[in-house]
């Protein structure tokens, strides 16, 4: 059993040594300040219930899709996402997925 565990540990450690991931919800280069702030907010609020990977791996087809998604998440118990924080978080996620053009489809705040 100890040998099996050691082999498994070595294999997993190798993955760790070669890994190059920040694990942050980073705004793309050139993103407006508001978007950067929204990403920092999303990282703080969303990790109350799940890892940031859930956001990074989400398959979202349109800005409107993100809109429904973030709204549904805000209404989760103990989400900690206040009504006026929904839009900054949405801006971050839409900009990351669809760039400035996607952000423009959401309209004014």
């Amino acid at each position: 059993m100890t040998t099996r565990l050691a082999l498994l540990a070595c294999s997993l450690s190798a993955c760790f040594l070669f890994a190059r991931e920040s694990g942050r919800l980073e705004a793309p280069p050139g993103a407006p300040v508001d978007v950067r702030l929204g990403c920092a907010l999303a990282e703080s609020r969303c990790t109350r219930c799940h890892t940031i990977d859930r956001i990074l791996s989400a398959r979202v087809g349109s800005p409107a899709h993100w809109q429904d998604y973030v709204h549904r998440m805000r209404l989760q118990p103990q989400s900690g996402i206040l009504p006026d924080e929904e839009r900054p978080i949405l801006d971050c996620l839409v900009f990351r997925s669809f760039g400035a053009d996607g952000l423009a489809t959401l309209g004014a705040r």
Binding site: H50, V60, G80
Partner: protein, 380 residues
């Protein structure tokens, strides 16, 4: 009460109806997770008789559909040691932020941890002891935790959220089938809740009911404190004669990306004394009478802090059980288990984490044990 629930459902459904939005496509989200975990027990030559050691896999696949901005549906399939199960199959009909009706098969609002029960959403390979679902050592002797998570049941839940200032208030009230047991019940029998042979229906024609309230206070931009209280009650035997109640309190303190979590659960369960209690039970009567209740409680305190790509976790949790025991039981009239866990979840690439933890078990009635978890969790 049943008629009132139906009326409330119809009223909420009427409020939830909005004009069809022809220009808005139905939004679907697919998500899933896989956890491979290897549990080694260095203090036992052969641990299988007392725990589900060695390699286990937990997997889930979920689809969430936003039909309109007020109606959504969730379906989630889970596969774990117990085989394939339906973890979610419900509709949310939202009349307002403060009023949502959830109908179908879901995890009723109880405590804080169940919201993070998916292996991809919490950092250790297993769950805190009050919510253990068969991964703890000697799980048969202890009959798992106080309320195994995720508790999945058929029913109806009213819930809502209200924001005021920088704070958030959540509530939920529900009626579900409830835990099940036998007519000569001595405790819940969790296998009956996931048995096709006994059907996925209420076993006693009487719903169990529960409620939860939670308050999340914003302390400053990077800090919040959430406090919650939960309760559930009902009967668990086929004749609806054996009562139970569960109460819980929980706290989550977040400061920047550091979390401190604590929960306490307590369950009082009525047991069937039977015709020959002297032969059935380990302990005799007190003042000529057998106590027909057992009490089980549990707690956990957990700190989680990210250091680069590594999330460090330290947890202290425990279970306690008071009351008579079956003559064959290894436990005593007052048994205690304390567990100390140190762990790390290492982000390898996007969506993939290595989880490692060491657990020291301190049993009052059984030999102390050491357990080591090593695994990989992926979310997609």
């Amino acid at each position: 009460m049943k008629a009132a629930l139906v009326v409330m459902l119809l009223v909420a459904a009427a409020h939830a109806q909005t004009p069809p939005e022809a220009d808005k496509a139905v939004q679907r989200n697919f998500a899933g997770s896989i956890q491979f975990d290897y549990l080694a027990v260095p203090t036992e030559r052969l641990a299988r008789p007392t725990t589900l050691d060695a390699a286990t896999v937990e997997a889930s696949l979920k689809v969430a559909v936003d039909l309109t901005d007020k109606v959504s549906a969730n379906i989630k399939m889970c596969v774990a040691c117990h085989g394939p199960e339906l973890g979610m199959a419900y509709m949310d009909l939202r009349a307002a932020d403060e009023l949502n009706i959830r109908v179908g098969r879901f995890t009723p609002a109880f405590g804080s941890f169940p919201q993070r029960h998916d292996p991809a959403n919490h950092r250790t390979s297993d769950k805190p002891l009050p919510y253990d679902m068969g991964r703890m050592l000697n799980y048969r002797d202890w009959n798992e935790g106080v309320l195994p998570a995720p508790w999945v049941d058929n029913g109806l839940e009213l819930d809502g959220v209200h924001f005021f200032g920088g704070s958030q208030f959540d509530y939920a009230a529900y009626a579900i089938g409830g835990p099940k047991g036998n007519a000569d019940g001595y405790d819940f029998d969790y296998t009956l809740s996931r048995s096709g042979a006994s059907y996925y229906v209420d076993n006693n024609s009487e719903p169990s009911v529960g409620a939860r309230a939670a308050l999340t206070l914003r302390l400053d931009d990077d800090a919040s404190l959430a406090l919650g209280a939960s309760g559930m009650a009902g009967h668990y035997d086929p004749q609806a004669k054996l009562a139970f109640w569960i109460a819980g309190a929980d706290m989550v303190l977040q400061v920047d990306s550091v979390f401190l979590r604590a929960e306490y659960l307590i369950r009082r369960t009525q047991i069937a004394i039977g015709d020959d209690p002297l032969a059935t039970f380990k302990y005799g009567p007190v003042d000529g009478k057998f106590d027909d209740h057992i009490l089980k409680d549990g707690f956990y305190v957990e700190a989680e802090a990210p250091v680069g790509r590594v999330d460090l976790i330290a947890r202290w949790d425990g279970l306690r059980r008071w009351g008579n025991e079956l003559a064959t039981s290894t436990l005593r009239e007052n048994s205690v288990l304390l567990r100390y866990t140190a762990g790390a979840a290492i982000r390898v690439v996007s969506g993939v984490r290595i989880k490692a933890s060491v657990e020291a078990y301190d049993f009052s009635d059984l030999p102390d044990e050491l357990a080591v978890h090593l695994g990989v969790t992926g979310s997609f």
